[in-house]
Amino acid sequence: MNCNHINPPGYIFCGTCGEALEHVRCRCGFVAHPINEASAGDVFCGRCGISLAEVAVEDGRSAADTDHRFDLEHLMQQALQEKQFLELTDKARVTQDDIRKLLTKRRKKL
């Protein structure tokens, strides 16, 4: 359930009344667009840029209940999911060997 207050992106509790907000979480862990946020209607994740239609994890409940007590099991599941996703996207990082190969390729082209 949601209040009618508008909250900034990333909020899982309403900043005005403290209500736990329904939200959609991207696999990278970013709370992509809770229903009553300024970012509602976003098509791409604000953190990793991936299409939310492909990767968004429907998450009707919050990691914390209305008494603001954290559900550790739920958080562990989320952390595992985020870790797996971040490991996949980690390929964008390079080693010195990758750089050497890239430079060799570029110089051959020139």
């Binding site: 964008a92 990082r93 390079v94 080693t95 010195q96 990758d98 750089i99 890239l102 430079l103 570029r106």
Partner: protein, 136 residues
């Protein structure tokens, strides 16, 4: 004809990195003509000394290394600029290479590896210059 020592400018905001690079450069027979601790100072010193080689960090105060690289290339695109940084994302590496950096060396390595990488860079560059002179 007397051989002139290669003149090198080191730009890095971390003093211990500047010292280490300075030692490596000197051991290769080149001369460290100036050291900069931020991007703005690097540009001022570059214009003042017009060095043959610049060892350039990316994350620096005032002006970042990529902006410095672009400015250096606009002044003299024959300058040997070697990026020396901890940033290891492909986008940043490609941006530096596309903007004229001769090499991109990651800092998260041993002093020995750094020595080898800088030494190899210098040799490659000299070989390239010799080859271009022969062709010309």
């Amino acid at each position: 004809m007397e051989k002139r020592k290669a003149r090198v400018l080191i730009a890095d905001d971390e003093p211990h990195i500047r010292s280490l690079i300075g030692l490596i450069i000197t051991s290769l027979g080149a001369e460290v003509i100036a050291e900069a601790s931020d991007g703005e100072q690097a540009l001022i010193l570059y214009k003042q000394f017009l060095p043959d080689m610049v060892m350039l960090d990316i994350n620096m105060p005032k002006v970042d290394g990529i902006t410095v690289l672009k400015q250096i290339m606009a002044i003299n695109n024959k300058t040997l600029v070697v990026m020396l940084t901890s940033l290891n994302t492909i986008e940043v590496v490609k941006e530096c290479i596309d903007n004229g950096a001769w090499n991109y060396i990651l800092k998260n390595t041993t002093a020995d590896e750094l020595h080898k990488a800088i030494s190899a860079t210098w040799s490659e560059y000299m070989a390239e210059i010799r080859a271009s002179r022969v062709v010309a």
